[in-house]
Each structure stands twice: as structure tokens, then as C-alpha cells.
Symmetry: C2
Subunit: 786 residues, 2 copies
């Protein structure tokens, strides 16, 4: 390649890079003397030195070169930083571009502003040391590694004009989620979607070790990246002058390749595009590049010792001199004027307006968010005259609604469904009538519903589903993630990080609300009897419930109509994590659609049709979840037979957070309302979908808590029958009925007989399933009779 | 390649495969008529058809060929099945080899035994549909996909004579954990460790979709696998006769390659081995191979429709005929004699004794387990005369102990340390004195502590650390996993699955106890002030605590000596998940080693030296966790100043499960003992390391629960100072002191003044850290003065 840059251009880019590096080092070290107007003294140094230098010069190098590319080509580009510990780099660039000052006027482009910029970094009340929501231009928190490339693809979907540059650290490349994210290119349609430009930054070291990809040799690495479907372009070295030319030439080449791919795919809309070999860059530069070569006689630049703060312990006076020399090596006087403002010839190199990566609206997705066009969910309701009159598969009903959501928003291209190979298994396959499954791999005649234009994202990786969806939401679109309940735990940690992002973003005025992260957990614990213990775990509820109350919402719709109402609500909401747990199997339906809406709006309520003299009950039979509701209703029917004069109140909870005190959660019932449902002194039998402890955690402050007796999942399971699952966990109708009788004082004399009945029923059940391999007809055919 | 098998050998292997396939189909479908002695009727068919046929013939094909290889070469081999939904296949093979009958005498090799074999599969009270602990020869549950290859490497480490054959499904290959597991070969030393033989089974489809790796073309797939460091050998087709020859030839080639690699590496022990290009196999055969080609006019064999039960709905009579014909296509009369016994010429093909993969002792690791040689942990104790006299870094002290554990067991080669690039960061680096970090990648002069013989496993993937460790433990060895607390959530789901495995295994008589899974979570929530919110999450405690009481153990040692005592206990234990949470920063030390042992043995106790007139207290100051203990002690000191006549009992909890009722957990204190610590009516201020709800969950049944007021992590965090972390979450000493005063009735009049003091202290703190960027000297230099 011939050199694409003039000497002047090289000098300009180099100056820009020096400025970003200077500002990065300043953030890590300085609390005063930002322009080095006098030799550094101990008083200028922060007392605690926090931050990650090692990755930062590489981030800054790429940033400077992407800016040249954006300006030269008028690009719409955002930047995702996998090695996001390099927070000072991204902050430095946002400051150089002016976006930082626009959002944070106190951080002005002056000596005082620069001092505040430096000081706030990793300072109490300031900003975190990693790339964080506070940083303009970012949609990616850099603390927990592994999700950058998935976020990048999520951002690129349905954004045909956008290029998402994504630095992948060679450390994070070792994580599982990142390792499989490379295959995202099998789901990106060059005609419809934007481009992702992965830049694998081989700086060679993690905290304390070399990285795998830096130590497998260039041939093997090339094979690997080609195996991932990419054409890798290598930019290697440590001489900035050579590297500037190489990086610029490579970026030009890569951009032309992207443009060619897109032009070809878009030239003939009638022909389905084939998967191209997308270009990518491998940037091999020293860790801590341009930093100190050695400290205390030990090599630093180009080693893991450059990972965090390369010079520390300023009790050694030579360290102060070394830092002073390091910072002056960037020649700050050439970069900033006497007032501390970036010199015009440098700031002029940056793009302007929304072309600045730090001000690209895609990175503040809420600013672009359009509400979904939603059909009236009532149109999809299951018609029923009386409770228990018909059966329906709740998620199949939901699928019909989602098909219309898909249809109504096809033109807006802002809604996708995500799931690990389970959309049909979860009975949402009606959506295929409108949009197939995105697929850019080879297609064979046997395949159905695959399409480059598909809007259902299926890949056998919960990590990818979650990462893509997060990227899609953070750039201002909408989505829905359906997953087997037990395997949602695979993304526990990703949920944690997204919830943290939302929590912090809500406190940042310029971050606009984004669409909520909506989970549908179906194929749930009580109906995974066929798949066995590995598929049986309701703990994801707790994973959501332990988030702060401004984020966490948990819904357990008892039937299809409630599921419709809840789903509609979730798709309209913003900045939440909404967890919906609902089964896919045929189950009896309880509420007409208008009742369902009222019930879901209240979050919990008394089902008078299911109770007996429920104004003054002997017992409250409470439930949350579809299967527990079924068992609780069956228990009521048993109790009415066994104790003709029994008085029962039936309470169903659909919005789990109503159970929390109103002081703890905005959905929490006040104590008066809670006591009105659960009384202050009556025994409560609570049949719950998840772990019993969850209900105790939510209700321990309630007046009647000591009378609340919870049944739920207690880790018992195997491959067995559906009813045996509830029996194994003492959540079955017989047990609930016995629980009630045991706890009603006036029925004390009936307890021994009730226990005998209970054991007889369980014995009969056990014998029958051992003999027949399926549940008793009276269980399979059970229906409510008022 | 010339054909390696005689026609007779082909026929024999083919018969063996047919037998396994026949037994697999029988398990999925039949409850009677196992030998097809009469035409199938509806009564022979199970009422519920559960199981996964699609992957099964491939599993059986490989099994038959591995058996030939084992017999011909006298190999020591185990078999890990990534697509473990194919449970019937592995059960069928264990039955053919006789191991099944040895463990389950009722499943004898006769007509009756075969009927019971068929019937028990996916039948209530029988066995699960996936590969499970009940299956002899397996260490890998097949329900949650993605961990097979990591388990295989864990099994191979330190087993130089063992070959671990590992089928990787092309579905599971899409998961993140599997995608990064390929890189495990950079950590396997051919001189010291065994071999892993990955067999990527490209059957083309998942539940409902094609797989990525089946649709990227052979060239790209070859690049990918070469990029992973392998030499792939392809075996492709659907004609069994050709495939038998191809598979046998390929296995011979691959085995020779493995033997050559090992021989070269072992020939010159003085020369460090280099990383070889390990062979692997890509087996491309139709999904549901040998099953029905079409059902109801739709293609099945070779499509995703073969995934589960290819023929269902036996209300259609033609389905019964089709199943009958399918099963007879295996010619059962040639395979089993009239009594239902496998014919001698077929069973003679299997290996014998421990050479059978279903009877290999490595797959029942407890049978091989040797206890660790452990030093006396007291030798590493921090000496102290009085509480708070010295500071120490708890995990560094532990590191010295672990170094000796490593040294004492070097010859046994049965102990390794695992961690994601954080062993030194977590201050356990003393172990490097004895054993370095395992590394087979390129080495540069700058590197330290890397060695092909290393016993510290560091890779930036919590999934790999966990998967390797599980494989290592399940094959009868010992290990220790240290991890940043927040990022342990990355393996939540793996923990769940391992705990399920342990729970079931404990109920299987022939499965011997294995070493516990030991976690050390350090770099914990309260001392990640520098890394910010992404690094701050104590929720893994709940993830462990919600497991059944026969598995879960949670320890929060308050100082280094307690950590030593706890760690020693954990390394001696069996079949548990032990979670230890302990910090790495310099902190004051409280207990001498003998006191520490007594305290840890009790699990909780009163620290009389910290209390005042603690036999009749105004308040119980309780705590669990190192930082909460520090704050609680500081609060006591404040209270003694502020309320000179205050009576305080100080309770520290090190074993969290003592809080649960003794009816719920074997470590639980009985109510009398609990009340003796926490009283029945005195206010308790409980400073806790994790979420407050956890303490309420554990204690809600205790007499005094309504008086227990818990402070813990409430999701507040950022980059700030250590003390500000506890202030943000109301866990600081000032808050705890105020909490106490507010709850002691006789101090009611003092509350307003106490509140003023509290706010003044907080204001002073906030101002100071904003100005100085570090905590007040009185916080940093605080020490206990009795």
C-alpha cells in the first residue's frame, strides 16, 4: 500500500493522538497543574491512583484514525470499546470533540475545565474509571468483559447507514460470550443492516498474563479470524509514524470493502444477499504504548506491568520526574493554548455535530426511540364466559399478538424477537407469518422460515441473544427475549450489568429513556417435567427482584389474557427490566379480558368466584404463577368437598412487587391494601412459582407475615409427570388443602383424617404414575366447577 | 486411506451400532414387547414419548468405533457427550457393556431386563431423558449445553494415560462457553496431561434451525478449527459401510498422532514441550441417521424434525407400522437371543473391565479420590495478642497456606488453583513459588511464572475456570477457584448445574463422594471502590444459599486466621459447594488462631471483648463479613463514647447457614442456641456483607426476627473511596451506631442528638472525600481500642 497520508496529515493525527493521550494520563494522575505550567509536585498528584493506562493509547489511536475516516467520508459511526477499563481514553476524546463540555458545562475547554476533567476521574462524586453511562457516545460499560461485539451487532441491526467500530480487547476475547460473538456476522444482512468493524487490539497482556490470541502466531490467528468469516487486515508495530500510515491505509481499504459489500447487496433488492466476508482489523501495538519504557528498572511498556497505573508510589522522587517527563513527551504546549483550550488546528480535525462519535444520537438511543405501534391486545383475547371454561396455550395466544406487533412495525424496522432456538418451542411461531428468522448462513431446501430479512433472532447462545438485544435497545429500538426459564441464569451477569447501566442512566439528565428489557420465561420449572432437573429452576425471578425498585418488574400472569395485558404493558414501558413468567402448555383459563386488565392493573386481587364467604375467611389461599394458580384452585375445590362449611378467600398475585412494602417499591401495596387482601391474622397458604424464600423476603414486614405459609420450588425435580413435579415440591393441590386444614384452628379435630386423605391421594398418585407413566385422569382432566 | 477394516469387522461394528440404536429407540418408545416378538400394538407404546433421537445414532456410532480403538490398543478412555440430550444412546451402550446391569441388577441382560430398561427411561421413578449422574461412565450432565469440552480438559489434566473423547454438538458449539473452550489446548501439556479428542458432530440442526458451523462451508470450518489449534479430520456421509471404514481409518490416524505427540513430549523431560497441533474429528452425518426418512410426507432424517421423537401421535395406525418397521430395520433377532440377551459375538466386541467407558473409574472420580496432604494451617496464622493489634491481607495469608498445600501435593498431581487472570491480583501469588501458571502458548522473555508444568490455571474466562475445575473434581482431584465477587455471577448457571449433579449423585450408592467445589470470592463488593459499580455485587452468596442444605455452605471469615480455618475445612470436605468470601486488602485482625478455630467451628459466637455488659444487652450488634465486622466494631466504639452506660452484645457470624433453623440446614443453630446469641426480644443491628434480604430469608422463623434490622448492599456504588461505599449503602459505623440508638427504647430522648451527630459525621465525610479524594484519616487510621 502506498502511504495515504501527507506528512502534514500524519503530524496532525499524531498531535490529536498526543492530545488524547495527554488528557488520559492527566486524568489518571493529576489533581492540579493540568497544563504542566510548572514542574509536577506531589501536591499535583492524586492521593489514590486509579485507572487503566495499558489499553488507553490504543483506544486513542483508533479514535483519532476513525475521526479522519468519518470526516473524509461523512460517516455515521459509533464506537464500542470492549476494553472499557480504558475509560480515560474515551472521556479524553469526548472532551476533545466538545461533546463532554456540552453535557457537562463545568468541564469547559480551559485550564480550569481541564483541571476539573482530570480531578473528577475516579474521584468521589466524579466519574468512574471505566467507560460508563456518564460518558457521551458510549452504549457499553467496560467493567465486565465479553459483550462488546454482541452490543455492536445489536446496534448495527436495522441501521443501514451506521458503521459500528468495535474494539475487542485480546483479554476479553478469551471470554465465552466474546468468543461466540464473532459468529454474529451470520445474522447481519448487508442490504438491511449497518456494518460492524471489529478491531482486535492485540496488546498482548491481561492483568498479569499474556493473552491467548497474542501467543498463537499470526498464521493460526489468521485462520481463526477467517474461520469466523472475516478477512483480517493486520496493522502492527510500535513506530507511530509508520503505524499512522498503515492504519489510515487499512481503514481506507476496509471502508471501501464495506461500501462495496453494501452496494452489491443493495443493488438488486430482489436477489437475497449472500453472506460476505466482512473485513476486520488486527491492531498489534504495545500495551501502554508511549508510556514509560521502564519503571524501577523493570520493563513496563509492552508488558502486563502497563495494565493499570504504570508509575506509582510517589514517595520515590524519581517517579515524579518520570511522570513529568512522560506527560511532557506529548508536548502539551503544542496541543493546548495558554488558557488551556485545545488548539484550533487540532480540534478542527474532529468531525462536527452528530458525526462526532461522542455525540452520535445512536449512542443515546432514547433520543431516537419511537414508540411501537401496538395492536389492541384485547383482539387476541381468549373468549370465556366462566372461569375454567376453556383451555389455551398462553404463549401461543401471545404469539398471535406479537405477530401483529411485528406486522405493525415492519416499516419502522424497530422491533425484533430474540431467543435461543426456541421461538417455535415456546409457541411464538405465529410471528413467522410476518417475519422469518434472520439467517445469512447457507440455506438448504429443507429449511423453513429462514431469511436474510428475518426479524426473529435465533442462535443457541443466551449470551448472544441478550447482548444483541441490549445493543438494539440501547440504540433506541424495541425487543422481546423468550427463553427457557432455567437457562436464563446463563445471562444472570449480563442482566446485572444492564440493570446497573439503567440505574445510572436514569440519573443522567441527557440520557433519554430507552425501551425496557423484556424477558418472557416460558418452558418453566413446572412444565419441564420431560426434560428433567437441569431444566428446572425458577431462580431468575430472584435475580431480577434483587435489583433496585426503579428497575425491577416481575409478572406471573395466571392465564393467557393476563399474559396479553402484561405483555402490552411491558412493551410500552421504558427503562425497566420486565420479567414475565408464563407457560406454554394448554391450561385452563380463568379471566375474561376485561377482568384480566383490571386484575393486572391492580397487580393482585381477590377472585371472589373462587372463594367461599371470603369476607371473613378461615384461610387465605394465595397464589402467583400459572401452575400454582391451578393447584390452588384445585385445592379450593378439594377443601369445599372435605370441609363443607369452610370459608376461603382466594388471592392471585400477578405483579410480584405488590407484595413489597410501598416504601420499598413503587408497585408495593400500602399496608392497608395489603392487609385488605391478606388480612392481619388469618392463615395464608401461598402457592408460589419460585423459591418460597422469595415471598418471605418480600413480605417479612407485613402485619400478617408470621401466618404466611409458602409452598414453592425446593430444588426437587427429575424427568417425571407434570403433576409429580408439584408433588415432589409439596406444591400440589392435596398438600395445599392439607396445609389449610392444618392451619385453621377450628378444624383441629379434622387434621388426622385430612392427613390420611393426603397420604392416600399421594400414594394413589405415585402408584398410578409408576404403572402408567402419566398422571391420573382426574388430574389431567381436572377442571374448575364453581 | 486404505480400508482398515475387514468385511467381517465392518459387519461386527455395524451390528454393535444397530444394537445400540435398537436399544435407544426402544427406550424412547416402548413399555412392552422389547424384542418385537409380535407386531407392535398401541399397548406397547409409552403414553408420553420423551427423548431426543436426533443426536443418538451419531453418539452410538462414535461409541462403537471408540470401543474398537480401545480394544485394539488397550486404551484408557472416557467419553463426554456434549449433546447429552441423547441420553438413551449412552444408557444403551452402558447396557451393552454390562456396566449398567452391574450397577442396576434389575436391568439384567434378558427380555425382562430389556423391558425394564426401556420402560424406566423418562418414566416417573425411572431415569431422566438426558445423560445424568445415574448413567455409568458419565461425568457430564447433558441438559444445559456448552460445558463438554471444558469438562473434557479438566478430566485430562494430570491424567497422562487417559484419552478423553468428547463429542461436541454443533448446536452446543454456538454457546459462548463452548466457543472459548477450544482454546483449552493452550493449557494442556502433552508430557504431563492426558489427551482430549474433540469430535465435532455436525448433524446440521438444533431444535428448529440449522446450526452455524454446518452452514459456513468446509473451508471456513477448517480455518476455524485450525485457528483453534487443531488439525481437523473429516468423516462425512450417510452410507454406513463407507462411514465405518472412514471412521476406523480416521481414528487409527488420530490415535497415532496423539501417541506421537505424547511420545515426543515425553521423550526428553528436560526440554519443555511445545504446543502441538492436536488432531480432532469432524463427523458429518445426518441428524436422526437410520431413523425414518419421512413421516406424514415430511422429510425427517437429516432435518431438524429428527431432533426429538420423530414419530409421534400413534392415533394414526400407520405410525405404529412405521415404528415397527424402523425398529425391525435393525434386525433385532440377529442382535439378541431368544431370552433377550445380547448375542455373544456382539458383546464380545466391547472392551472389558475398566477399559469399558461405562466402567472407567475416572468417570466415578470419588472412587479414585485421595485426600490432600494438608499442612497445619496454624503454622500460617497471624500472631496477635489483642484484637485489632495488627493488620494483614487475609488472602495473602491464605496464599502462604495454599503454597504449602501445593507443595505437599506436587507428587500426587491432584491439586490445582483456578482463576481468571487474578491469582496475583487476589494476592495468592505465593503459590508461584511452588508451581507456575500452566501455559503452552508462545513465551517471551518478559514473561514470568509461566510453565507447561504450571498448576495455576489462569484464563480470562470464568466459564473455562469453572468448567475445567468441575472436570478435575469429577475425576477425583481437588481444586480451588478464586474470583472477583461480582463476576462469579458469570458462572451462576454452571454452579446450578454442578449443584444439581452433586444433589443427585449423593443419592446414587455407587457414585463415591468427590472433593467439594471451593470458591474464594475476594476483590469483593466493599473493596471494589476503585473499579466502580460493575465490580460491586454480593449476590453470588444467594446463588449458593438457595441450593439444598446438603450441598450449600457459605463462609464469611472476618479475618485472616478465620479464613485459614475455613479454607482448611473446605479442602477436607466432600460433595459440597463451599463459598468463602474474604477480602484481600490490609485489614485489622481480631482473633488469635485458636480463638479463630473455635469461632469457625461454632459458626457464630459472641465476642465478649467487643461487648459491654453483654449478658443483658440493650442491643445486639451482629455482623457477617470482614468489612461489616470492621464497621460494627467501629460502631461499638462510637456507642461507648456516645452512651457511656450502653450495654452491647457483639455477635459475629462466620458460617452463614447457622442462621437457618436447624430443621432446614444441618449447620443451623437450634432455636435455643440462636436465642442465646440473638436474644428473644432485644434489638439486633445486623451488618451484613450481602443483600439484607438474605439475612431475613434465613432468620424469618426465629423468635426475635421482628427485631432484626439488617444493613447490607442495596445496589449503591460507583468509583469512590472504600468508606464511601459503606456510607452509600448505610452500612457505615455512624449509621450502625444511630440504628442502635434509635432502637433502644430507654435512649429515646437521645435520638435527636444522635441524628444530628450522624448527619454531621456524614457531611464531614462527604466534604473531605470530595476535597481530598480519599477517606478521612480517622477512618483510614481507625483501630480498635478496648
Amino acid at each position: 500500500m502506498s502511504d495515504p497520508l501527507s506528512l502534514k496529515q500524519v503530524a496532525a493525527i499524531h498531535a490529536y493522538w498526543r492530545a488524547a493521550n495527554y488528557l488520559s494520563v492527566g486524568q489518571i494522575y493529576l489533581r492540579g497543574n493540568p497544563l504542566l505550567e510548572r514542574p509536577l509536585t506531589l501536591a499535583d498528584i492524586k492521593p489514590r491512583l486509579l485507572g487503566h493506562w495499558g489499553t488507553t493509547p490504543g483506544i486513542n489511536f483508533v479514535y483519532a484514525h476513525l475521526n479522519r475516516l468519518i470526516v473524509a467520508n461523512g460517516l455515521d459511526m459509533i464506537y464500542i470499546i470492549g476494553p472499557g477499563h480504558g475509560g480515560p481514553g474515551l472521556v479524553a476524546n469526548a472532551y476533545l470533540e466538545g461533546a463532554y463540555t456540552e453535557h457537562y458545562p463545568a468541564i469547559e475547554r480551559s485550564r480550569g475545565g481541564m483541571e476539573r476533567l482530570f480531578r473528577q476521574f475516579s474521584w468521589p462524586g466524579g466519574i468512574p474509571s471505566h467507560v460508563s453511562p456518564e460518558c457521551p457516545g458510549s452504549i457499553h460499560e467496560g467493567g465486565e468483559l465479553g459483550y462488546s461485539l454482541a452490543h455492536a451487532y445489536g446496534a448495527a441491526f436495522d441501521n443501514p447507514g451506521l458503521i459500528v467500530a468495535c474494539i475487542v480487547g485480546d483479554g476479553e476475547a478469551e471470554t465465552g460470550p466474546l468468543a461466540t460473538s464473532w459468529h454474529s456476522n451470520k445474522f447481519l444482512n448487508p442490504a438491511r443492516d449497518g456494518a460492524v468493524l471489529p478491531i482486535l487490539h492485540l496488546n498482548g497482556f491481561k492483568i498479569a498474563n499474556p493473552t491467548i490470541l497474542a501467543r498463537i502466531g499470526k498464521d493460526e490467528l489468521t485462520d481463526l479470524l477467517r474461520g469466523y468469516g472475516h478477512e483480517p487486515y493486520f496493522v502492527e508495530g510500535d513506530d507511530p509514524e509508520l503505524l499512522h500510515q498503515a492504519m489510515a491505509a487499512t481503514l481506507d481499504t476496509v471502508l471501501r470493502r464495506i461500501e462495496t459489500i453494501q452496494a452489491e447487496a443493495r443493488a438488486t433488492p430482489a436477489t437475497p444477499p449472500t453472506r460476505p466476508r466482512w473485513p476486520m482489523i488486527v491492531l498489534k501495538t504495545p500495551k501502554g504504548w508511549t508510556g514509560p519504557r521502564t519503571v524501577d528498572g523493570l520493563p513496563v511498556e509492552g508488558t502486563w506491568r502497563a495494565h493499570q497505573v504504570p508509575i506509582a508510589d510517589f514517595k520515590k522522587p524519581e517517579h515524579l520526574d518520570q511522570l513529568d517527563a512522560w506527560m511532557r513527551s506529548y508536548r502539551p504546549a503544542e496541543l493546548f493554548d495558554a488558557a488551556g483550550k485545545v488548539r484550533e488546528e487540532i480540534s478542527a480535525l474532529a468531525p462536527t455535530g452528530h458525526h462526532r462519535m461522542s455525540a452520535n444520537p445512536h449512542a443515546n438511543g432514547g433520543a431516537l426511540l419511537e414508540p411501537l405501534s401496538l395492536p389492541d391486545f384485547r383482539d387476541f383475547a381468549v373468549a370465556l364466559d366462566v372461569p375454567g371454561a376453556v383451555e389455551a396455550e398462553a404463549t401461543r395466544v401471545l404469539g398471535h399478538y406479537l405477530r401483529e406487533v411485528m406486522r405493525l412495525n415492519l416499516d419502522s424496522r424497530n422491533f425484533r424477537l430474540f431467543g435461543p432456538d426456541e421461538t417455535a418451542s415456546n409457541r411464538l411461531d405465529a410471528v413467522y407469518d410476518v417475519a422469518g428468522k434472520a439467517w445469512m448462513g447457507e440455506v438448504e431446501p429443507i429449511d423453513i422460515n429462514l431469511s436474510p430479512d428475518g426479524r426473529v433472532m435465533e442462535v443457541l447462545s443466551e449470551h448472544l441473544c441478550q447482548g444483541w438485544l441490549e445493543g438494539y435497545l440501547l440504540t433506541g429500538r424495541h425487543g422481546f427475549f423468550s427463553c427457557y426459564e432455567a437457562f436464563a441464569h446463563i445471562v444472570d451477569s449480563m442482566l446485572n450489568q444492564h440493570a446497573k447501566w439503567l440505574k445510572v442512566s436514569r440519573q443522567i439528565a441527557w440520557r433519554r429513556p430507552i425501551a425496557s428489557l423484556n424477558y418472557l420465561l416460558t418452558s418453566h420449572v413446572w412444565r419441564q417435567d420431560h426434560n428433567g432437573l437441569s431444566h428446572q429452576d425458577p431462580g431468575f425471578i430472584d435475580q431480577v427482584a434483587n435489583k433496585t425498585s426503579d428497575i425491577a418488574r416481575v409478572y406471573l400472569p395466571p392465564d393467557a389474557n393476563c399474559l396479553l395485558s402484561v405483555a402490552d404493558h411491558c412493551l410500552r414501558s421504558r427503562d425497566y427490566v420486565n420479567l414475565i413468567v408464563a407457560g406454554k402448555q394448554p391450561e385452563w383459563q380463568w379471566l375474561g379480558i376485561e377482568e384480566a386488565v383490571r386484575h393486572c392493573t391492580a397487580g393482585a386481587g381477590i377472585w371472589h368466584w373462587a372463594g367461599v364467604q371470603d369476607d371473613d375467611p378461615d384461610v387465605v389461599m394465595a397464589c402467583a404463577g400459572d401452575v400454582p394458580t391451578l393447584e390452588a384452585l384445585a385445592a379450593v375445590m378439594l377443601l369445599r368437598e372435605q370441609v363443607p362449611d369452610i370459608r376461603i378467600r382466594f388471592v392471585n398475585v400477578v405483579d410480584l412487587m405488590v407484595l413489597e412494602p410501598s416504601s420499598e417499591h413503587p408497585h408495593g401495596l400500602d399496608d392497608h391494601a395489603f392487609d385488605a387482601l391478606f388480612t392481619t391474622d388469618t392463615p395464608v397458604i401461598f402457592a408460589f412459582h419460585g423459591f418460597p424464600a422469595t415471598i418471605h423476603t418480600l413480605t417479612y414486614r407485613r402485619t400478617n407475615h408470621r401466618n404466611i405459609h409458602v409452598r414453592g420450588f425446593k430444588q426437587e425435580g427429575t424427568t417425571t409427570t407434570p403433576f409429580d413435579m408439584v408433588v415432589l415440591n409439596d406444591l400440589d393441590r392435596y398438600r395445599l388443602a392439607l396445609d389449610a386444614i392444618e392451619r385453621i384452628p377450628r378444624l383441629k379435630a379434622q387434621v388426622p383424617a385430612a392427613r390420611d386423605r393426603y397420604w392416600a391421594a399421594i400414594e394413589r398418585h405415585k402408584l398410578y404414575i409408576a404403572e402408567h407413566g402419566e398422571d391420573l385422569p382426574e388430574i389431567r382432566d381436572w377442571r374448575w366447577s364453581a
